[in-house]
Each structure stands twice: as structure tokens, then as C-alpha cells.
């Protein structure tokens, strides 16, 4: 039995996660077929933080399963006007939503507000805390591309401190048997953040040769504006995947990124081109986006169908 909500993957056993992944594989294999497991169901999608791919991918997932979408996107200023998450959530349930997909910038908010309603609550990203469907689609993409996770090394590079994707993967990569190494400048990688059993380094070149998967995280312009790093250029000089560093990669190393990519910061445009032209199977950025739809279909299908039984 799956939990009612998907707030953090820690609430899901390995078996439950595998069930979701198998369901996602089924949907991908049968892509084009008409599904109706959400027929007559209303899925409320409410993103209180800018997003394109996650929101669109949830919307498409609902449509592919035959469900209806209630789209509630607060004006970016209305939160300040007193638009209230608690009221919105209760309203959406009353209006007839059968599940809620939510994104919000405040870590911990879903723990609290998911209690306010009985219907399934699915996180579409919660502050710097968790982004469960992103972590799931990453695992799906790796398994699909033939990378056995067990015993493999994942090197994660970038703004670990502010990354909800990283925090979700602190659970998923180890539970699927992969080891994780985190790389970032000290200000974005406090040692206290590193979970037991996870390695870390301030030196990308030192750990790059060990990576079967190199997972790049977005470094936002805001970090430069807030003075956490001297500039994005200086970050790129030390931690960007450029032509010089590519030579350190394992022959079969795969590249991943949750998007959107800051080209020239996390990874140089020439490296992207080289991979796209010569090693398309080893740069998984677009596969991740594509698979997001199937993984979210699986999550919706199982969380809602599981409750019908």
C-alpha cells in the first residue's frame, strides 16, 4: 500500500518506488494508447513558484490519463496580498479536486498543509527540501538507459545547499544501491548537510574520474547576487564541466541535469555539443524531461487508483 501523499520519497519503500517505476515503464511502452484511470477525476495543479517543465509535465500526465485539470496559479504578487495557501488548499478540495499537485518555496509547508485535506497531496517541489518526482524520473531515466545503479558512483555537482533535488536524492541513490559524492564550493556544501555514507569534495577534478553518472545542478544567478560566490564565471571556472574536465570522465559516464541548464555555467556549450553529436546516449537531459511525464502518470495513477480500491 502506498502512502496517501507524496511529499518525500523517504515515506516510500524500495518496493513501492519500484512499483511506480514499473508503472512508468508501462505507460512509456504503451505511449499513444488511451488511458482512463483518471476519467472523471479533477487534479488541481497549483504552483506558487515559477516552473515550466514540472507543471507542464504534470498537466500532460493528467490529460494522458483522461483526467481534468484545475489550474490554480496565484498571481506572483497575490501571496503578498494575503492569498493564503491553507484557504486555497481547502477551497480546491471543496471545489471537487481529487488530488492536489503543489509547488511552494517554503520548506516544511507541505507537512502542515497536506494535513488540512483528505485527498492525495503530491509535491511538485518544496523549497530547498524535497522534489520527489524529479528524483524518481532521474532514477527511471538511468535504469532505462541501461545504467545499473547498484555499485555505481554518482557525482553530484552544483548548488547542493539550495537543491531540493539533491535532498531527495540523498535517499534515492543510496536506496537503489548507488554511492553518492557531492561536489561544490564550501559555501554551497556545508559538511553538516552531507548524510552519513555520502562522500563530498570541494575539488571536482579529484572526483570526476570516479563518476559513472555526473549529475549537474543548476547554480542560480541569485547566488551571485547574494554574494555567495564571486560570480557565476568564477563558479564555472572551478566547477563547470568544460572541455578540459571532460577528459577526466569515465568512458561510459552519463551526464544528467534537472534543468533548466545554465549553458556556460554548469556545463559549457561545446561539451553539450560534443555529447549530443558523438555520445547522445550519454547525455540524458532530454530523456529526463521526456520521462517526467510517464513517471508523473505513474504517481498519479497509483496514488489515486490505490485509494479507489
Amino acid at each position: 500500500m502506498l502512502p496517501k501523499d507524496m511529499l518525500s520519497l523517504k515515506d516510500f519503500s524500495l518496493e513501492a518506488l519500484q512499483e511506480i517505476l514499473q508503472r512508468a515503464a508501462f505507460f512509456k511502452k504503451k505511449d499513444g494508447d488511451v488511458f482512463s484511470s483518471l476519467k472523471g477525476k479533477n487534479i488541481a495543479i497549483s504552483f506558487w513558484e515559477p516552473s515550466t517543465r514540472t507543471r507542464i509535465s504534470f498537466e500532460l500526465a493528467v490529460q494522458k490519463l483522461g483526467g481534468r485539470i484545475i489550474n490554480f496559479t496565484p498571481e506572483m504578487s497575490s501571496e503578498k496580498k494575503g492569498e493564503n495557501v491553507d484557504d486555497t488548499i481547502k477551497t480546491l478540495q471543496s471545489i471537487g479536486a481529487d488530488a492536489l499537485v503543489f509547488r511552494h518555496s517554503s520548506p516544511g509547508i507541505f507537512n502542515r498543509v497536506s494535513e488540512l485535506v483528505e485527498i492525495p497531496f503530491i509535491s511538485g517541489g518544496e523549497g530547498c527540501y524535497q522534489h520527489p518526482t524529479q528524483a524518481l524520473l532521474d532514477i527511471f531515466t538511468l535504469i532505462e538507459s541501461g545504467v545499473k545503479l547498484s555499485g555505481r558512483q554518482v557525482v553530484m555537482v552544483g548548488d547542493i545547499l539550495h537543491s531540493r533535488v539533491a535532498r531527495s536524492h540523498f535517499y534515492t541513490f543510496p536506496v537503489f544501491g548507488a554511492s553518492l559524492t557531492l561536489v561544490a564550493p564550501p559555501v554551497l556544501l556545508p559538511p553538516e548537510l552531507v548524510p552519513p555514507g555520502v562522500n563530498w569534495s570541494y575539488n571536482l577534478e579529484e572526483v570526476l574520474p570516479s563518476g559513472d553518472v555526473v549529475y549537474l545542478l543548476r547554480v542560480q544567478k541569485e547566488r551571485q547576487e547574494k554574494g555567495l560566490i564571486p560570480s557565476l564565471g568564477e563558479y564555472a571556472a572551478l566547477y563547470g564541466l568544460n572541455e578540459k574536465r571532460v577528459s577526466l570522465l569515465k568512458e561510459d559516464a552519463c551526464l544528467m541535469h534537472p534543468g533548466p541548464v545554465n549553458i556556460g555555467i554548469e556545463i559549457s556549450s561545446s561539451v553539450i555539443k560534443v555529447f549530443e553529436n558523438f555520445y547522445p546516449d550519454r547525455i540524458l537531459f532530454q530523456d529526463q524531461v521526456r520521462n517526467g511525464v510517464f513517471v508523473r502518470m505513474a504517481v498519479l495513477d497509483l496514488l489515486l487508483a490505490g485509494r479507489m480500491i
Binding site: 516544511g108 509547508i109 502542515r112 523549497g127 540523498f170 556545508p190 553538516e192 548537510l193 548524510p195
Partner: protein, 447 residues
């Protein structure tokens, strides 16, 4: 009224008393303390099995009035104080408007006089409007009776200004109480920069943001030499600096809260806003350092940092919930059960931390039950165990991280100036059934 307290065990460390005692109270003063006073013609209160202590003094309380009466008032705060065994509190000036003029000082004193429960000693701000830009009219407030100065909650980031404010306080003979936090290091943080806070994805307040300011204050104090007091020390780095200050002969005092002595950052899992306070709960190593500092006498005062908030404010998201926990009604039972009964401090040592030392810092009577002094005392029931029930608090703030903790050592009687303000949990003026006191007493000789 005149009264004889009989049968209790008195712990009065200043006068070296630790054992059975009879205490005779005349008017608002202690008349005599003795093993046996012989026959006296006054009503007698039998305190068999109970412990008598000098009234507790809390130098770090937010009474919220004026301006934030939804969180607390001088009346509810003082009721909470006497319910918790505190006979005197010093109230922090970060009200709205802040206590930065003689008018607000006199308003608070007048309200406290009307409420007539605990003694209230107002503190004034260090800077006007708590803005950290100009020194507040310290002399004027001193004339009106403030017992110290603090910009609590808003550290004075400008070191030059802090130095000059300390120099002025030196002339007035009053303490400066510093909330040590370098805002450029703590930023928008809400939890300790430790395993739990980082994993929850919350912005952090590192220990070093406290320690660099502790270091600054110690160095300023070395130059000034007045009365400096450091509020709510939470980090082991700060303890190390306090040790250095002591070894260097720099005089200052400091305080620690019950929550920093008893809890760690774990209490914020998962997003528990009742454990959100500033400074934040830190690691077990920090807590151990605080306990050790307390045992060594390096930190000599325990203060609650009683910071009541409305329930709905605390039930918000972790980022937006306000900082602070209530403390007045849980402090003594917590410290009795978890510190004294665990053998970390003796009861007399605890009395010094909770009564004598804070009274001395403020330069007010208290912490001492010698004949001739005000009859401010508290009676403790040491054996009976109760669960902490925030619904029953007199404070408007129910924000406690100690809900449902089973504790002993709840106060059963609080006397301020010879007047019983709290009896078995009931507060004078707050409970209709506050007992007709005559009925409690037995006349001497009648059995």
C-alpha cells in the same frame, strides 16, 4: 499579613541555609528565620514535605505590552511568572513602541503596579527605536527606573555605537544586556547550521554568528569595565570565549535558557515550530558545553527568554512562524527534574542561578531571605509529577516545546512582599476560587 511558615525545608544559599526552617513574616518582610521560633501569635502555614526558596528572578522576559497584547500582557505575563515561582521579572524593551523613553518605562511600571503580582523591572533599549543608529536616552530611562539596557532580538551591529552605549551605562551603574548575533552571518536563518536544519532545507543560523559577537562584547568589556551581561548563550564556541574572558580577568555575566540546556536541534524535526527560537537549539556538543559551563559557574544565570506568541502565529510555516518559546511556567519544574534530580546542579546552586545572581545583576532585592529583606519566596512540591499542559498556562503564549513532559517540582506557593500571589496553581485576581487565605492556616497551638 503576618504569617509563620512551618515544616518546610529552606534552601537559601546566600545565608548558608539548607535544611528545616521556620520563617516568620511580618508585613512585607522576613522577620526571622530559625530552626524553631517557639510560640508566636500569628497564623501558621504548614509546609511539611515542601521546599522553600527565595523567589525566582527572571531577567529575560518578553511581556509584549505595550503593543502586542494579543501575545501577552503585563497582567498575563505576571500571572505566568508567579504561577512559575518567579517573584520578579525584567522585561525586554522590544515592545511596540519600544521602551526607549521615560513615558513607556513609567507606563510599564504603572501597569505592573496595578496588576500587583510579580515585581516588574523594565529594561530600556540601547538605541532609539531599536534601530541600532543612535543611543537611546539612557539617563532619562534610568531616572524613571529601568534596571538595564538591551536591544534584545536586534543586536547592535555597529561596534562603535555599542562601545559608547556601554560607556554610558557604566556611568549609570546599570547593566548592558547583549543579544549576541552577527546578522551578516545569520541572515535570514531560522535554525542552527547543523545536520537537522540543513537536511530540512531551511536557512541557517551558524554558531559562529553568536560567537563572533560574544568575542566582540568581551573585548569591548575589557576596555569599558561596566556591567555587561550576555543573553541566552547557545554555542560551545561562546563558552570557550567566556572561559578565556574569565581567565583574562574580564568581568561579565551570562545566561543560558532551560531550552538550550535541555534540547538540541533534533527538536525541530520535522518542521516543529514550537522549537523555533533565536538563538536556535544547537547540537548535543553545544548543550553539553552549556551544562558544563553552568556547573563550573562560568555561566551564572538561567533566564527563560519567555517569548509568548499567538497560537496561530506559531502554527504557520517554519519560515514565517515567529521565533520564541514561553518559559515562565515550565522553567523551575524542568530544571528541578532534569538538572537537580539528575545531579547536574545542587538545589542551592540552582537557586543562585535563578534567584541570587539575576537579582544581583539587576541590583534589586531578591535571592536572599535574611531577616529585614522583602518576603519574596516560592514553595516547591518536590515529589508529585504532572504533565506540562499548555492549555492551562496563564501566559497567552502556549508555544512550548515541552508539551506533555512529565515533571516534578511545580511551585505551589509564590509570595511577593509577604503577600501570597499564587496558591496551588491558582493566581490571585485570576481565579475566582483563589482561596480565602484565612482558611489555609492553622492557629499556633490549635491542633
Amino acid at each position: 499579613m503576618d504569617l509563620l511558615l512551618k515544616g518546610g525545608i529552606l534552601h537559601d544559599p546566600v545565608n548558608g541555609w539548607e535544611g528545616p526552617a521556620e520563617i516568620l513574616i511580618k508585613g512585607d518582610r522576613i522577620e526571622a528565620v530559625s530552626l524553631s521560633l517557639g510560640p508566636v501569635e500569628v497564623p501558621v502555614l504548614d509546609l511539611k514535605g515542601k521546599i522553600i526558596l527565595p523567589g525566582l528572578v527572571d531577567i529575560h522576559v518578553h511581556l509584549r505590552e505595550p503593543g502586542e497584547e494579543g501575545k501577552e500582557t503585563i497582567a498575563t505575563g505576571c500571572a505566568a511568572a508567579v504561577a512559575g515561582g518567579f517573584t520578579a521579572v525584567a522585561c525586554m524593551p522590544n515592545t511596540n513602541p519600544p521602551v526607549d523613553s521615560k513615558e513607556i518605562v513609567s507606563y510599564i511600571k504603572e501597569r505592573a503596579r496595578q496588576v500587583n503580582l510579580a515585581r516588574v523591572y523594565p529594561l530600556g533599549t540601547l538605541t532609539r527605536r531599536l534601530k541600532g543608529q543612535e543611543i537611546a536616552p539612557m539617563w532619562e530611562m534610568a531616572q524613571e527606573g529601568v534596571r538595564g539596557f538591551s536591544d534584545d532580538g536586534r543586536p547592535v551591529m555597529n561596534s562603535g555605537l555599542m562601545l559608547r552605549a556601554m560607556q554610558f551605562a557604566l556611568v549609570l551603574g546599570l547593566p548592558v544586556i547583549s543579544h549576541c548575533e552577527d546578522l551578516s552571518l545569520s541572515g535570514d536563518g531560522v535554525v542552527h547550521a547543523g545536520v537537522h536544519g540543513y537536511r530540512l532545507g531551511l536557512p541557517v543560523i551558524p554558531a559562529v554568528s553568536e560567537a563572533v559577537m560574544v568575542a566582540r562584547e568581551i573585548l569591548l568589556q575589557q576596555k569599558v569595565g561596566g556591567k555587561l551581561h550576555l543573553a541566552h548563550i547557545s554555542a560551545r564556541e561562546s563558552v570557550a570565549l567566556l572561559r578565556w574572558a574569565r581567565e583574562s580577568g574580564i568581568n561579565l555575566t551570562s545566561e543560558v535558557t532551560p531550552h538550550h540546556l535541555l534540547l538540541t536541534e533534533e527538536a525541530v524535526d520535522y518542521f516543529n515550530t514550537s522549537a523555533k527560537m533565536n538563538p536556535p537549539l544547537r547540537t548535543s556538543a553545544d548543550r553539553d558545553a552549556l551544562l558544563e559551563a553552568l556547573q563550573e559557574g562560568l555561566i551564572e544565570i538561567i533566564a527563560t527568554d519567555h517569548a509568548p506568541h499567538r497560537l496561530q502565529e506559531k502554527e504557520a510555516d517554519f519560515l514565517s512562524a515567529p521565533f520564541g518559546v514561553t518559559g515562565l511556567e515550565t522553567a523551575f519544574p524542568l530544571l528541578w527534574t532534569k538538572i537537580v534530580e539528575q545531579g547536574i546542579l545542587s538545589l542551592s546552586e540552582l537557586v543562585k542561578c535563578l534567584s541570587t545572581a539575576p537579582a544581583n545583576l539587576l541590583g534589586v532585592p531578591g535571592g536572599n531571605l535574611a531577616p529585614g529583606l522583602p518576603a519574596d519566596l516560592v514553595v516547591i512540591e518536590p515529589h508529585k509529577e504532572y504533565a506540562v499542559n499548555a492549555d492551562k498556562f496563564y501566559s497567552r503564549g502556549q508555544n512550548t516545546p515541552f508539551k506533555d513532559w512529565r515533571l516534578k517540582g511545580f511551585p505551589v506557593l509564590t509570595m511577593v512582599g509577604g503577600d501570597i500571589k499564587m496558591w496551588e496553581g491558582k493566581v490571585k485576581g485570576f481565579n475566582q476560587d483563589f482561596p480565602e487565605l484565612k482558611g489555609l492556616f492553622i492557629k499556633q497551638g490549635s491542633k
